[in-house]
Amino acid sequence: MIDWGWIADHVPAILGRAVQHLEFAAIALVVGFAISFGLALLSVRYRPAYPVVAGLAGILFTIPSLALYSSFVPVIGLSLLTVEIPLVLYTLVIYVRNIVAGFDSVPAEVLEAADGMGYTRMQRLRAVELPLAVPLMVAGLRVASVSTIGLVTISGILGSSFGGFGFFIFERPNFATEILVGAVGSIALALLADALFGVLQRRLTPWSRLNVELEMAKTGRSAAQATAAV
C-alpha cells in the first residue's frame, strides 16, 4: 500500500519541506512571543486591558484557519507574510494567557519582599518576576509550538511554496503515500517540539519543588530527609 520507492526518491524534498515547516513555525513563534509579551506586560501593569486583549486574541483564535489564510491573499498576495500573519495571530491567545498567568503566579509575598528590600521596578521585573514566570511562559511556548506546527501544515492550501509537510498532503489528493508522509511528518515535528520544550521547562527551573524532588530521587535520598526539620 505504501509506495516506498516514492519515499526513497524524494528524501531531499522531504527534508527540504521539514526545514520549511520548522522555519515557518519558528518565525511565528518568535514574533508571536514578542508581541504577546508586550501585550501581557500591558495587561499585568494595567489590569483593565487584560479582558480586552484576551478577548480579541480569543476571537482571532476561533476563526477557521482556512478562512484566515485565504482572507489575506487578496490584500497582500502570496508571500511569507500570508502565512506568518495568521500563524502569529493564532499564537497570541495562548501566549498572552500563559505569560499573564506566569506573572500572576509570582507569590505576592515575594513581590513584597523584593519591594521592601529596595528593588527598583525594572530590577524586580528582570530578577524576580521574569525568572518566576518562566515555567508558565515555556508551557505556553510548548502549546503554541504544537498548535503552530499543525497550522503550518494547513498553509499548504496556499500553493506549492507553502505548507511544509502540508505541501505533500495537498499536492495529489489521491496519492496515499504522499499524504501519509505529510501527515506523519507534521505529527512527528509536533511531538518533537512538545518533548523539547518539556525538557527546556525542567532545565530552566532547577529550583521548583518538583525538580528538586526528581533530583533527589535520582541521588537516592528522600525529599523528607533533605527537608528535615530544624
Partner: protein
C-alpha cells in the same frame, strides 16, 4: 557595624482609600487603619507592636520603609523624616522580614541572603563572605545550606534565612512582621531565644510585629499595644503593661493570667533572697542547732565544702551534741538556678509541695532561699508601685 538609630512615629495616621476617597479621608470620614500613632523607640531597642488582627500593625510597619505612605504625620529614623529620603535607598538601609518570609524561590539560600548587598553593588567575594557569616550567625552551616533552594528547607530554616537576608547589609533598623508566625511553638521559642541572643551582639533597633501577647512580653524592651481602628492603647515596657494596664482593653488583651505573666518576667535573683542557716557535715551540732533555733525559719541546710546543698535537717532532728553528718539530711527542696523565673520557681514549689526553694549560682552553690510567700509579696508590692506611679507612658483610654 552600623550603629542603631532611633525610630519615631509622630501623629502617624493612615486611611486606606482610592483616589477620590481622599477628600472623605481628609474630612475624617473613612475609618483609619492607623490612627494618630505616636511613640519613640530608642536606638538599639526592640519595640513590639501587638494587637488583634486588623488593628494596623502591618500597616504601621510598612510606613517605616514606605511600602505604604501615611495619610498624615511623619516617621523619623535617626531624626530624619523618611519621606524626605530616596525610597529605594531607604529600603536598602532597612532590614525587612515579611510575614510569609517571601524568599525568592528561584534563588539559592546564598543568593537570597546576598540580595541587598548585590543591589548595593558589593563585590561578589565580599557578598559571599557576608552571606556565609550571616548564615552561620542564624545557625545554618553555609557549606550545607548556601546552595540549597528554599523549597529544600523546613519552615524554621526558611525563617532563619529570612532573618539572615534582612541583616545582610547590616541595617541600623530592622522591621520584622510576625517573623516566627509560620513555625510550631517549640521551634518558635528557639528562634525567639536566638534572636534575643543575636540582639545582644547586634543591638539593632527592631520593630517587631506579633499578635501573640506572650511573644510581645518576651521579645520587647517596649511594647505598643494596638487596638481595633489603629489606636495605640498603651506604650510601655512589658512589666508595666502587665502590672498596670492602661485600659480595660489592654487588661483583657494581656489576659486574666497577667499576674502569672509578670512572674515570668522576673528572675529569682532579683528578689531579696532569704539567707538559710547553713552548716557542713563535721561541724559542731549544738552550735548549729542554736543558730537554727534563733532563725525565723528553724531548719538547717546542710551544704558541702563548695556550699552546694546536701539537704535539710528538721529542727527536731538536729542532734544536741556531737558533729553533724550527711545522713541527717532528710529532705531536699527544689534547686532553682538563680536565673529561674518567678513563674517557674512557683511552679516548682507547688509541684514539690514545699514552702521554700534553694537558689543556687552557676556553680551550684547556695545563694539563698525563695518562698512562695516572697513571690506573692513581690507581686503585690510591684503592682501597687506601678499603680502609684501612673507614668507619662500611660495612654488614657478614650
Amino acid at each position: 557595624m552600623a550603629t542603631a538609630e532611633s525610630v519615631v512615629f509622630e501623629h502617624v495616621t493612615k486611611r486606606y482609600g482610592v483616589a477620590e476617597a481622599r477628600r472623605e479621608a481628609a474630612a475624617g470620614r473613612l475609618p483609619a487603619a492607623v490612627d494618630d500613632l505616636s511613640f519613640e523607640v530608642p536606638a538599639g531597642r526592640i519595640c513590639v507592636l501587638v494587637g488583634p488582627s486588623g488593628c494596623g500593625k502591618t500597616t504601621s510597619l510598612k510606613m517605616v520603609n514606605r511600602l505604604i505612605e501615611p495619610t498624615s504625620g511623619r516617621i523619623l529614623i535617626g531624626g530624619e523624616d523618611v519621606a524626605t529620603r530616596d525610597v529605594i535607598a531607604l529600603r536598602r538601609s532597612i532590614g525587612y522580614v515579611i510575614q510569609q518570609v517571601g524568599l525568592f524561590p528561584h534563588q539559592t539560600v546564598g543568593e537570597n541572603v546576598e540580595t541587598v548587598t548585590r543591589l548595593l553593588g558589593w563585590a561578589p567575594e565580599r557578598r559571599r563572605a557576608r552571606s556565609d557569616e550571616l548564615l552561620e550567625l542564624v545557625g545554618l552551616d553555609p557549606s550545607r545550606y548556601a546552595t540549597r533552594y528554599p523549597s529544600q528547607l523546613s519552615g524554621g530554616e526558611r525563617q532563619r534565612v529570612g532573618v539572615a537576608r534582612a541583616l545582610a547589609a547590616d541595617p541600623p533598623v530592622l522591621l520584622m512582621d510576625e517573623p516566627f508566625g509560620a513555625v510550631d511553638p517549640i521551634v518558635r521559642e528557639r528562634l525567639q531565644n536566638e534572636l534575643l541572643h543575636l540582639q545582644d551582639q547586634l543591638a539593632k533597633t527592631i520593630l517587631f510585629v506579633t499578635h501573640d501577647i506572650d511573644e510581645a512580653i518576651k521579645m520587647g524592651d517596649l511594647v505598643a499595644v494596638m487596638q481595633a481602628g489603629g489606636h495605640l492603647a498603651q506604650f510601655a515596657p512589658p512589666a508595666e503593661i502587665l502590672a498596670n494596664p492602661a485600659s480595660d482593653f489592654v487588661a483583657r488583651f494581656v489576659g486574666a493570667d497577667r499576674g502569672l505573666k509578670r512572674l515570668a518576667l522576673t528572675r529569682v535573683n532579683e528578689l531579696d533572697l532569704m539567707a538559710p542557716v547553713t552548716a557542713s557535715p563535721g561541724e559542731d551540732a549544738a552550735e548549729a542547732r542554736r543558730r537554727a533555733l534563733a532563725d525565723p525559719f528553724p531548719w538547717l541546710l546542710l551544704v558541702d565544702a563548695m556550699r552546694r546543698p546536701l539537704g535539710w535537717v528538721e529542727e527536731a532532728d538536729i542532734p544536741t551534741s556531737g558533729n553533724l553528718t550527711e545522713e541527717l539530711a532528710s529532705a531536699m527542696s527544689p534547686l532553682l538556678d538563680r536565673r529561674t523565673t518567678l513563674k517557674d520557681a512557683l511552679a516548682r514549689l507547688i509541684e514539690a509541695e514545699v514552702q521554700a526553694g534553694v537558689v543556687t549560682d552557676a556553680r551550684g552553690a547556695v545563694i539563698g532561699l525563695v518562698t512562695a510567700e516572697m513571690i506573692f509579696d513581690w507581686s503585690r508590692r510591684t503592682a501597687e508601685e506601678a499603680r502609684a506611679s501612673e507614668g507619662p507612658t500611660r495612654e488614657t483610654a478614650s
